[in-house]
Symmetry: C3
Subunit: 454 residues, 3 copies
C-alpha cells in the first residue's frame, strides 16, 4: 500500500498548472505500476478459480462443475460490466461538446477503479490473515465494479468541469472511502445492501455533490450555452439509459444469495423499474405547457426505481411493494430535476451536470430507509424460520438480532453512507487548493477529445 500512497501524494498535491501531457501519463504509469506491485504481493485466485479446484471439488463433495460460483454469477457480472462501461459511459454522452469526454474518461477511471477496488475491498473484507493474501473470484470482480460505480456516479456531478487527472484522484479517493464505508455498514453494522442503495448510490451521489460544491466557479454561467445537448447526442444517451435500465435486475441480484435470493431480487427490481417509467413520463409531461416530454427525465428519472430497490429488493417486499417504490421514485426524481437541481445551482452554488442528486443521492437514501422499514417488518410467518435467518444472515454473533433491530441498523447504515459522501467529498478541497481554479468547461469544441491543462 506504501507505493500507492506515494503515488497518491505525488499527483494529488502537485502544483495546479501542471500540463496534462505530463501529469496524465505520469499518473497512469505510476499508479498502474503500483497496482502491479500490490497485486503481486496480495492477490491470488480463490479455490474456485485455481487449478486445485479438481481437488477442492473432491474434498468438498461437489458433484458437478456447474456448482462453481462462476455459473451462479457470471451472467450477472457481465450485465453489471455493461452497466459500468456502456451504461454510465453513454449516459454521459448527452452534452453536445463532451461525448468523447463522457464515455472516454468513464472508461479510463473505471479501469483504474476496479483494480484499486479489488485491493481495498480485499483488505477490508476477504484478507486471509493466515497467508496475508486476498483470494479473488467472480464475486470479487462484481464487487470491484460496484465499488467503482460510486466514483462514476460522482463523475456525473462533475461532468465537463474536471480534468482526467482530477478524475483519477476523485476515483482513488472515492474507492478508498467506499471500502471503509462499506466495511462499517456491511461488516460492523451487519446491514444487508446487495444492490447498494446505501453504499453505492447514496454515497456516490453525495460524494459527487460535495466535490461539485468545492469546485464551484462563479463564471460558469458564461459557458451555460455549452451545457446542452443536440438531437443525436441525446439518442446516444438513451443507449446508456436503456442498458442501465434493462440490466438493473442483474445489478441488484448479482451478489445476493444463491437460489431464491437472486431470483426474488431480479423480480422486484424489474417491477420497480417498470412502474418508475410511467410516473416519470407523467410528471415530465405535466411539467410542460404543451405536454412535451423532456429527454432529461426520460434518460434519468426512469432509473430511480432501480436505485431505490438496491437494499430492499432481496427482502420479501412483495411485488406490489416493488411497484409502489417505483411509483414514488419516478415522481420524486422527476420533481428533483424540475425544482431541486435549479435550486442547488442558484442558492447552494452546486452545479450538478447529470443531476446525480435526483437519480442517485436521494433515491439511494430513500432506498436505504425503505430497506430499513422492510427489514423491520420482516417476520417468521412471512419468511419462514430458515428463510429469515438466511435472508438477514442472523448467524454467528448476530444470531440473536431481531428484524426490528436490523431495521434500526439499516437506517443507521444509510446515515453513515451520507456522512461519508458529504464529508469525503468536502475534504477533497484540502489537499488540492488548485481544484477550484480549473479553467476549462466546454470552452471549445471537444472534437479532438482534447483535455487542456488543469
Amino acid at each position: 500500500m506504501g507505493n500507492c500512497a506515494q503515488g497518491f501524494k505525488d499527483f494529488f498535491c502537485r502544483p495546479k498548472n501542471t500540463n496534462v501531457r505530463v501529469s496524465l501519463p505520469a499518473v497512469c504509469f505510476v499508479w498502474q505500476i503500483a497496482m502491479i506491485i500490490l497485486f503481486g504481493v496480495f492477490i491470488r485466485y480463490n479455490e474456485e478459480a485455481d487449478t486445485h479446484w479438481v481437488e477442492h471439488k473432491k474434498s468438498h463433495n461437489i458433484t458437478s462443475d456447474i456448482e462453481n460460483d462462476f455459473y451462479f454469477r457470471y451472467p450477472s457480472f457481465q450485465d453489471v460490466h455493461v452497466m459500468i462501461f456502456v451504461g454510465f459511459g453513454f449516459l454521459m454522452t448527452f452534452l453536445k461538446r463532451y461525448s468523447f469526454g463522457g464515455v472516454g474518461f468513464n472508461f479510463l477511471i473505471a479501469s483504474f477503479g476496479v483494480q484499486w477496488a479489488l485491493l481495498m475491498q480485499g483488505w477490508f473484507h476477504t484478507l486471509d490473515h493466515s497467508t496475508g493474501k486476498i483470494y479473488i473470484g467472480v464475486e470479487s470482480l462484481i464487487n470491484a465494479d460496484f465499488c467503482t460505480a460510486g466514483s462514476l456516479i460522482a463523475y456525473g456531478a462533475l461532468l465537463g468541469k474536471v480534468s482526467p487527472v482530477q478524475l483519477m484522484v476523485v476515483t482513488l479517493f472515492g474507492v478508498t472511502l467506499f471500502a471503509v464505508e462499506e466495511y462499517i455498514i456491511l461488516s460492523l453494522l451487519h446491514c444487508r445492501d446487495a444492490g447498494g442503495s446505501m453504499v453505492i448510490h447514496c454515497f456516490g451521489g453525495y460524494y459527487g455533490l460535495a466535490i461539485s460544491w468545492v469546485l464551484y466557479r462563479p463564471k460558469l454561467h458564461l459557458s451555460q450555452r455549452l451545457n446542452g445537448s443536440v438531437y443525436h447526442s441525446d439518442v446516444f444517451a438513451m443507449i446508456g439509459t436503456l442498458f442501465l435500465w434493462m440490466f438493473w435486475p442483474s445489478f441488484n441480484s448479482a451478489i445476493t444469495d444463491h437460489g431464491d435470493g437472486q431470483h426474488r431480487t431480479a423480480i422486484n427490481t424489474y417491477l420497480a423499474l417498470a412502474s418508475c417509467v410511467l410516473t416519470s413520463v407523467a410528471i415530465s409531461s405535466m411539467s410542460q405547457k404543451t405536454g412535451k416530454l423532456d429527454m432529461v427525465h426520460i434518460q434519468n428519472a426512469t432509473l430511480a426505481g432501480g436505485v431505490a430497490m438496491g437494499t430492499a429488493a432481496e427482502f420479501m417486499i412483495t411485488p406490489y411493494g416493488a411497484l409502489i417504490v417505483g411509483f414514488c421514485m419516478g415522481i420524486i426524481s422527476t420533481f428533483g430535476y424540475l425544482f431541486v437541481t435549479p435550486f442547488l445551482e442558484k442558492y447552494l452554488k452546486i452545479q450538478d451536470t447529470c443531476g446525480v442528486h435526483n437519480l442517485h443521492a436521494v433515491p439511494g437514501m430513500l432506498g436505504g430507509f425503505i430497506g430499513a422499514i422492510t427489514a423491520a417488518a420482516a417476520s417468521e410467518s412471512v419468511y419462514g424460520k430458515e428463510g429469515l435467518i438466511s435472508t438477514f444472515d442472523f448467524e454467528g454473533s448476530f444470531k440473536d438480532r431481531t428484524p426490528g433491530t436490523q431495521g434500526g441498523f439499516q437506517a443507521a447504515g444509510t446515515c453513515v453512507s451520507i456522512a461519508f459522501g458529504l464529508v469525503g467529498g468536502a475534504l477533497m478541497r484540502i489537499p488540492n487548493t488548485g481544484f477550484v481554479n480549473v479553467s476549462f468547461l466546454f470552452n471549445r469544441s471537444e472534437s479532438n477529445f482534447s483535455v487542456e491543462q488543469s
Copy 2:
C-alpha cells in the same frame, strides 16, 4: 380487474381533443395505480423466488441451488429484455424526425405492457384457484416481455402516426387480446409455440396492420418527405437490428424445455438467421440498378428467419431445415418490402411505417405453418419415444394425440392468431372514433421529443 377496466374505459372513450398534457399523465397515473392494486390482490412470488425455497428444496430433494429455474432462464431473459427495449426501440429510430419517439414511446408502452401482461397471463395460465393468487418467477417475466412484444410490433405499423395515449390504449387492448389468444392456442388447442411465430409475431403484425387501416388518413402523402431517414438515424437503427438478430436464439429458446430443448432451439434459430442474411442481401442488391443495398432491407428482412423459426425451432427440424427456412424468409421478406408495402399503401390504404407486414405478419404466419408441417412429420424413430412425448407434451389428456393431429392443431392455431390480430385491430375503431382524426405525423421537427394533442 374491475379497477383496470374502469381506467380502461375512462381513457379509451375520452373526447378526442383532450390535451396530451392532461391525458398522458392521467393515463399513466391511473393505470399504474390500478396495477399496484391488482398486484396487491393477485401477485405473489413463486416457490423458487420465495424465502421458503430453503424448505421447498428439502421437501423436493433438490440438491443444489443451481437447479432453481432462475439459472436455467435468467441469461435468456436478459437477452429478451434487451431485444424488447433496445432491439425494438432502436429499430424504430430510423426516422430522421422521430428517433426520440421511436425509442421513448417504445420504452413507455413496454414498461406498462409487462405489468399488465403479468396479470393477464397470470389469470389465464397460472392462477392458483385454491388461493386465488398468481405466483410469478423468471419464466413469468419472460412471458410478460413476449406478450408485450405483440403490441410493440403493432407500434411498428403505427410509428409516427399516433399519440402516446393512443399507444397506451393499443398496448392495453393488445396485451388483453394476446392473453386470450395465447390461452386458446397453447392451452385449448395444445399447440407448441415457444418462440411465438404464431402468438407473438403473426398476431402482432396483423393487429398493427388492422389498426393502421382503421387509422388511414388521406393527406398523409403530404408529409411523405418526412417519412425518411438520415445517415446517422440509419446507423442507430442498425443497433436495434443487430441486438434483435444476435439475441433471437435466446428469444426462441427462453421458455423451451430445460436441457436439449433450449439447446436445439438456439442452434436452429442461429442457423436460420445466418442464412436469411445472405438471401436478403442478394434480393436487395438485385432490386437496384446499381446493385446498391437498401438499408431498409438490411435492417429488417435479415430478421425474418428468426420470426419464422419461432414455432419449429424446438422441434427436430434439422440444421439444414433451419437453413432452408432462413433462405426462403430472406427472399419473401425482401420482396415484401419491394412490392407488398407499396401495394398495401396504394390500394388497400394501409400505411405500414416499419413494414411489419413483411417482417412479422407474413414470416410469423409462415412460421406457424412450418411448425405445423414439422410437427406432423415427427416420428418416434427420429425423436425417440420419450423425446416425442416431452417435445410435444403428449401427457395428461393429450397423451393419445399423434404428431399428425398435432400438426393440424398447430395450423389451426396459426389461423386463430391471424383472426385475433385482424379482428382485434379492426375493433379498435369502435370505441374511439377520434382515432382517425389524429392530425400529427412528422409535421414538425421532433427535436424536443414533443407530442401534440391527439
Copy 3:
C-alpha cells in the same frame, strides 16, 4: 464439399469488371444453396441438443438438465456473438463515409462465415468417421464465431477498399485456412489456445495485412481526406470498442474447461484489459503536444490486453502477471498506431485502415509467446498434479509431455499461425489478378450504402 468448391471457383475467378448487381446476388445464392446441401449431408445435432437427451442423461447418470453443456457455455456464447456482430461491426463505423459499409458488410460476411466454419471445423475436428456426420452443439457455435473472427479481423485491414464480393471470397478462403491452421496447432501440435491469440488474432491480423499488401494502389493517397472520422462516427465506434472490451473475458473463457478453467480465464482477461486502458491513455496523451487523447488509440489499443491474453489466460499466469501483460500491450499497441502504421504505409505500401497490425497481429503474436513462456513455467507445485494434467490435457498420447516441451510447441504454433496468415493472404493475388484494380475507396458519399462495381 464439391458444391462449395465449385461455387468458390466460379466467383473467385470471375472477370474483374462484373457488375456487383449480378455478382453479389449470385455469390449469396449459390454459396447459401451449397451450405444447405452440405449441411444436409453432414450436420446433425449432438446428443445434448437432440431429443434423445432424455435417454442419454439416464445412460450417463446425469442427474440434472443443468449439466447440459448449454448452461455452461450459452451466456458466454451470446457475449461472443455480440462481439462478432456489434463489436467488430461498430468498431468499423468510424469512417465518416463508410459506417454502413463497416457494420453492414461485417454482418454479411460473418453470417456466411459461421456456416462455412461449422462445416470446415467439423470436418477437421469433430467428424464422426463411423457415421460420416458432424454433430454440433453450443460449443460448435462458439467455435464458428471464433473462426469467422479471423476473417473479420482481416476485413479491418481492407475496410473501404474492397467490394462485398471480394469480402465473401476473403471470408471463404480465410475460414478454410483457419480450419487447417487450427487443426495443425490444436490437434497436431497439441497447443492450448482457448482465446485464440495465435489461431484467431495473429492469423487474422497477418492474413489481412498480406491481402492489403497485395491490394496496394498507388493513387490511394488522393482519397486520403476521406479516410477520416467525424464526431458522431467516432462515438459509434466507441460502442464497438466497449462491447469488445467488456465481453472479452467471455471470449477468452467461452471454450475453456468447465469450472476453474472458465473462472480463471475470465479473471485474467478482465485484469489485463483494465491495465491496458491506463497505459494506452498514457502513451496517447504523451504523443501529442497538448496532451490531447487520440480517439484511434482509445478505440483500439485499449483492447490489445485481451488479444494478448488469448492463450495464457487459462493458465496460472497469476493476477499480477495479467496486469503486466496488459501494461505492456497498451504501450506496444499505441506505439504501433503512432509509428508502425505510418511506416507500413509509407515504406512497405501496406494500407491498414483499422490498424489490425497493432491490435491483432502483434499482440496476437506476443500473446502466443506469452502463452509459451507461461506453459513452460508451469509446475506441479503451482498447478497440482491433477490440475496440471487437466489444464494442458496431458492425456492419451500426450501424457508424457512436460510443461517445457509444451512451451516449445506453443511457440511453434505461433509461428505456424504467422506463416498461414502471411502466405495465405499473399496467395490471394494468384487467382484474382483483378484485385489490385478495385477502383473505389471512399470516392463518394456512401449515404445509400452503395457498392460500386469491382
